[in-house]
């Protein structure tokens, strides 16, 4: 187990290094921030001066070396646009994204898992068909569209919930539903199919033959064995929720890192983009790591030796 952990951690660090390097490269290829930072009327000398101040006139390898050296200690430099440490900006925006992702994930899990189980139990009956059709819509409808529909329905039509911004718990409901819709649909569909695979197995028939109550059979015997693919998809979905909140954050004016990163990309604000991608990637890698560890708890057959 210890060796596995070390190896897995090593791979995570490697993945983070790879991602940072790719982002570093792509940002440098995609345009000069000095051009965007200065006013249109700025002189050629101003552009040169700013490029020098930002260290953009140095060889790429030197820039990369400096970037890595600083990144190791969590220093991604100062935002070119906001003139604040990039990591500080990401930290300020991270809580908003985490809050949204956790709420979306919570809603998705609480709703999707029971729905998926019920659909499996009542497979090929009308409940199953209705729920799975809804899940298909949830999975295929663009986040943007779902967001706007919820705004028009609950924000503008019924006036039950606020439309944009962050503040009270009510502000969280519509964006969390929007962001969670895709995850909810995926988890529900996967729970159903995983459960269907399991409840056809002999040991479930045995459990029923023993006279155990159906609820107990499903809960105690079937669900635990169906949980591995469900936990995997949940882990992946949570990572996606963190990184994929850009559209939801834009529609609901939610001040998260997705919007920060997008603005950073538009302004070629290297430090902000690098810091936000790094943090999002670190979360993704971290969650996957935790999911792997969860497997051992869920299924004693899995041993990492």
């Amino acid at each position: 187990m210890y060796h596995y952990l070390v190896r897995r951690l090593g791979r995570s660090v490697l993945a983070l290094w790879g991602i940072s390097t790719i982002v570093f490269g792509v940002m440098r290829l995609s345009g000069d921030p000095a051009v965007l930072l200065l006013p249109q009327e700025a002189s050629r000398e101003d552009v040169q001066r700013l490029r020098h101040d930002l260290g953009l006139d140095e060889p790429l390898l030197v820039q990369y070396g400096r970037f890595l050296g600083h990144a190791v200690i969590g220093n991604f430099g100062e935002s070119l646009r906001h003139k604040e440490p990039a990591m500080q900006l990401v930290r300020d925006h991270l809580w908003a994204t985490l809050e949204l992702a956790i709420a979306a994930f919570g809603i998705a899990t609480v709703v999707a898992v029971p729905i998926g189980i019920l659909a499996a139990v009542k497979s090929h009956r009308s409940y199953d068909h209705i729920v799975m059709s809804l899940a298909l819509i949830g999975q295929s409808a663009p986040t943007f569209w779902i967001g706007i529909m919820l705004i028009l329905g609950f924000g503008l039509g019924l006036r039950w919930l606020p439309i944009g911004g962050r503040g009270t718990v009510w502000h969280l409901v519509l964006p969390a539903l929007t962001l969670g819709a895709f995850a909810m649909a995926s988890i529900a569909r996967l729970t159903r199919s995983a459960m269907l695979d399991v409840i056809r197995l002999d040991y479930i028939t045995t459990a029923r033959a023993k006279g155990l109550r159906e609820g107990w059979v499903i809960w105690r015997h079937a669900l635990k064995n169906a949980a591995i693919p469900v936990v995997t998809i949940m882990g992946l979905q949570f990572g996606t929720l963190l990184g994929g909140a850009v559209v939801t954050e834009t529609v609901f004016a939610w001040p998260g890192i997705g919007r920060l990163a997008i603005q950073g990309i538009y302004n070629r604000d290297y430090p902000v983009v690098q810091a936000s991608v790094f943090v999002a990637a670190a979360f993704f890698v971290g969650i996957n790591f935790c999911v792997d560890l969860l497997y051992t708890l869920l299924d004693p057959r899995i041993r990492y030796e």
Binding site: S30, G31, D32, V35, L36, L38, P39, Q40, E41, A42, S43, D46, V47, R49, L50, R81, H82, K83, L89, D92, H93, A96, G147, I148, I151, L152, G155, L156, R159, P162, I163, G164, G165, R166, T250, V251, F252, A253, P255, R259, L260, Y266, N267, R268
Partner: protein
């Protein structure tokens, strides 16, 4: 018993009645907050380092200029009560007495000198440098009098000072807290006083109770970014915000029909137009450019894409310019037959012509470019649309690498020809592709003439050259639209500035 009971309830009931009465007074009996929804959050609050619309809209309320513009964009006294020309190059400004900054410091000539010198600093250049660089030096005569000496005669100086860059900041406070400190807690003399800023969430001000005009009838003034247009409009209709900017033409009807909000618009002080790179064949041929001018059915563009909220231009200057513009000219003609003849005359052989445009940078930019390309194709021009990301566009403009025509929205910043095409197209200007010695002479001379009639004649002659040479394909002068709650009064301005002082509750 009954009596004591009555007495017991009398006081609370009276209070309740009083509260109900106060609350039921129609309109805005008690002060409340004003929430403004913009498309983007501000980038910072340093008035000399940004010209972006969402930033400038806040600057004009947080700070004051020496000269202000009224709703019709006429110059009115601001921090200066009067100004006059002392000699060819010297303007004298008398400052208003008793004006104080939000921190209590008095606003004096020292602050004016400090602010204007900061605005024209050249190392590095500020964002507003080009707007005010005609100023050579600022001389203090007494605490309430300053002389502004210009490099050459500048008849437009008061107008320049009324626009971005002319904001006055407190010298003492700025020197004490430094640039970063000032950006964190900005101080001005304007109608709104900084409270807090949560980036991408909300920017909060309170009404300046010591404002020299009169305090605003609101407690707090809050700017919130709503990047998504549909959400911004829904927020207004649901009553979450009181005022929104950047309403697209196709949403005007929805808002007007809502019964709770309405749209206000004003013709934009500029054009939506395409700049030619006249150095690339076949665009170096004047006849090809003229053919493109005649190929556009501008009326259809205004009617279909802008739902009638705009006008077909008729001159080289927008109709808001106070000099040079000739209202008697007819709107630009749509004449496909003439366009084809001109192309034949030019010997055009179907060479590809690129129409470049960003997406989402201007309202309807993609649709406009696709429509213009189709109209050009109809007369036989091999027009190809090339859509660009915003930053790529910025880079192209800066490096002067337009590959054909590029869509832009030149603004007449001074409501005078000097503030638009001359600002952008003068030698070394942002879109310096086309040169014509006579046009250069006329425009260069006009800007330093103090005689208004002569300036007007110069600009009219320059316009004839411009319209014959077609260095820019002018398409339309659109309306810029905003929306606000029915309970508010406000008129949109051509310069797109939203002055909170002008947003008044309906009495």
């Amino acid at each position: 018993m009954l009596r004591s009971c009555t007495r017991r309830w009398a006081r609370p009931v009276t209070w309740l009645c009083a509260v109900v009465l106060v609350c039921s007074v129609p309109g805005w009996a008690a002060a409340r907050d004003l929430v403004i929804g913009q498309g983007t959050d501000v980038s910072h609050l340093d008035p000399h380092y940004s010209t972006s619309a969402s930033d400038v809209n806040v600057f004009f309320n947080l700070y004051d200029n020496l000269v202000l513009r009224d709703e019709q964009l006429n110059l009115t006294p601001g921090l200066a009560t009067s100004w006059k020309l002392m000699d060819e190059k010297t303007w004298q400004f008398k400052l208003r007495e008793g004006v104080v900054f939000h921190n209590g410091d008095p606003c004096t000539a020292d602050d004016v000198k400090f602010s204007l010198e900061r605005a024209i600093a050249d190392n590095p250049r500020t964002s507003v440098y080009a707007a005010l660089n005609t100023i050579e030096r600022v001389e203090i005569l007494d605490p309430l009098t300053v002389n502004l000496v210009t490099k050459s005669p500048d008849p437009l100086l008061p107008t320049r000072l009324s626009y971005y860059g002319g904001m006055i900041v407190p010298k003492q406070y700025f020197e004490k807290v430094g640039r970063e400190g000032f950006r964190k807690a900005p101080v001005g003399t304007g109608s709104i006083k900084f409270v807090e800023w949560k980036k991408d969430e909300r920017l909060v001000f309170e009404a300046n109770k010591r404002y020299w005009r009169s305090p605003l009838p609101y407690d707090k003034i809050i700017y919130k970014p709503y990047p998504e247009t549909a959400a911004r409009i829904a927020a207004l209709l649901a009553g979450e915000v009181d005022f929104i900017t950047a309403v697209p033409p196709d949403q005007v009807e929805v808002i007007d029909k809502s019964g709770t909000a309405r749209v206000e618009g004003a013709l934009y002080a500029g054009f939506f137009s395409y700049t030619f790179n006249v150095k690339i064949p076949p665009l170096d041929n004047k006849l090809v450019r003229q053919a493109m001018h005649y190929a556009l059915d501008r009326q259809a563009i205004v009617k279909k894409l802008w739902r009638g909220r705009g006008v077909v231009p008729n001159d080289a200057y927008p109709n808001v310019d106070k000099i040079g513009y000739d209202a008697k000219k007819s709107p630009f003609e749509f004449n496909p037959k003439k366009a084809k003849e001109l192309l034949a005359q030019a010997g055009y052989k179907g060479e590809e012509i690129k129409l470049e445009s960003a997406v989402g940078y201007l309202s309807n930019d993609k649709q406009l470019t696709e429509t213009v390309a189709a109209m050009l194709q109809d007369v036989g021009i091999n027009a190809k649309v090339q859509l660009l990301e915003y930053s790529v566009r910025a880079q192209k403009v800066r490096q002067k690498t337009i590959e054909g025509l590029l869509l832009g929205d030149p603004t007449s910043t001074l409501l005078d020809p000097d503030g638009m095409f001359w600002r952008l197209m003068q030698p070394g200007g942002l879109i310096d592709y086309w040169r014509h010695p006579e046009w250069d002479r006329l425009m260069g001379e006009a800007r330093i003439l103090q005689d208004q009639q002569k300036r007007d004649e110069h600009y009219k002659k320059a316009a004839s050259i411009f319209l014959d040479e077609v260095p820019v394909l002018i398409v339309l002068q659109p309306e810029k639209t905003f929306a606000l709650k029915k309970e508010l009064q406000w008129k949109a301005r051509s310069d797109e500035i939203v002055v909170v002082y002008d947003i008044k509750p309906v009495q």
